[in-house]
């Protein structure tokens, strides 16, 4: 995406919906990895999703993050566009963002009509 687009990181990206290239929801922008904070042009390098991306969100979540395992790191270069959602360039499965629903779909899939 254009590096000149003006987006308020806290309001316009953090905590927003991630949508993959097929239009499927695949998590939230739980945290952002920034570089160059001590320079004039800080840059977002990665989006952190789930797991220990919650570690900065308070005591309880540090514990939850420990149990939840590693966050998924999505390089900023995978971002297609930022609107009211953060749209990604590839399908969730290629970015390891499809771990939640398949885990339970075997159980739900046993019911007729699912």
């Amino acid at each position: 995406m254009s590096k000149h687009a003006e987006v308020d990181i806290a309001l316009g990206i953090l905590d927003h919906q991630l949508v993959d290239s097929n239009g499927i929801n695949c998590g939230k922008v739980d945290d952002l990895e920034l570089t160059g904070l001590d320079t004039d042009s800080p840059e977002v390098v990665e989006i952190l999703v789930g797991g220990n991306a919650w570690r900065t969100r308070g005591l309880l979540w540090r514990l939850a993050a420990r149990l939840a395992g590693d966050a998924v790191h999505v390089p900023w270069s995978e971002v297609e566009s930022v609107s009211s959602v953060v749209k990604l360039k590839r399908p969730a499965s290629e970015l390891r963002l499809d771990r939640g629903d398949p885990r339970w779909s075997r159980l739900v899939g046993k019911v007729p009509g699912s």
Binding site: N25, G27, R57, S84, D101, S114
Partner: protein
Amino acid sequence: MSVKNVLAVALGILSAIGGFVDIGDLVFNTQAGATFGYQLLWVVVVGVVGIIVYSEMCGRVAAVAKRPVFDLVRERVGFGAGLGTLIASQIVNLMTCAAEVGGVAICLQLLAGLPYRALIPLAVVALVLSAWVLPFEWIERVFGYLGLGLLVFAVAAIKLHPDWGRVAHGFVPGHHVGGSLLVYLYFVVGLLGAAMTPYEVYFYSSGAVEDGWGLKELGLNKVTSMIGYGLGGFLSFSLMIVAGVLFLPQKIDPQFLGTPPLAAADTLGQVGLLLALVGILFAVGGAAIETSFSGAYNTAQFFGWRWGKKERPAAASRFTLTWVVIFALALLVVMTGYDPVKLTEYSVIFSVVALPLTYLPILLVANDRTYMGSNVNGRLANVLGVLYFIVIIAIAVAAIPLLIVTNGGQG
């Protein structure tokens, strides 16, 4: 607009009317009528305008920005406060769902004469099956249309020949007669809470996203929210008027859900009774499904999962499991034998506490041009939106103290 479109809008309005009243409205409107006669009718007007203002706003956000309410909650108030809102709203959704399930079981008991305890699991199974099998539109329609049986209360209210002068007087707030001020205020909070329950905006906005609303639907959104909820408010008036005519003079305290249908029986005989019971059964049953779905919508939207009734259940497996689990927990709560009417009172009062953090993000985003472009709030929506937000904060602060001090409106 073509005939087909007019028909679609009319059907949408009908299901909104039938879907407006749930167990919270039934309980609070009849109790308010039995305690204060018509004196609290003005509160229903205030509540109905409030739900119209905020559902129009969240419907517009859903149509323009395609974002449902809990996306907004997390984006605007952040992770911590958003999580707090999620937990509070889930507790309220569960309590409300349990109360509605209890209501369904009571109606079945009155219709079939079978033991209440045995009917609770039956009610839950029937509701889960309907929610599983029926497509989204049909859930709204079936429960909405059959909920229109509640219109017998409007007929009953007219046939009871209330003193219309005093009814008209009830639409103007003023000094109340009878009962203590605190109990009066408790009912003000309860009636507002029942009319503006948060799950209504969760369900309405998520439903709009599910239906794929776009700019074309902005008109439909205005009409459905205004006329649908507006006419739904008439059912609330009817319940309060009927209770005011029949229960207040006799000092009947409608602490049982079977009491309001007796009012319909009193004026319209067996047919009235039957229509009232069927109306309550489906209005309350529809609300049970809406609350369980709201719980699943909120959780999925907070964590960014795939969600929606239109998704294959196995594809959106976490969403599906969440609403099924809410029904299962509601079953457990009702099976404890706790009185559904009491449960309703608590769920409405607690829902008031969750209102501010639900409504604030809607108000903020509806004013944000980056989401809404030229469809941001107009002056009217903002004046009313801010005014109601102040009202909501006031009642959120007063709700629990009033519940405790008045012993749940008992005085």
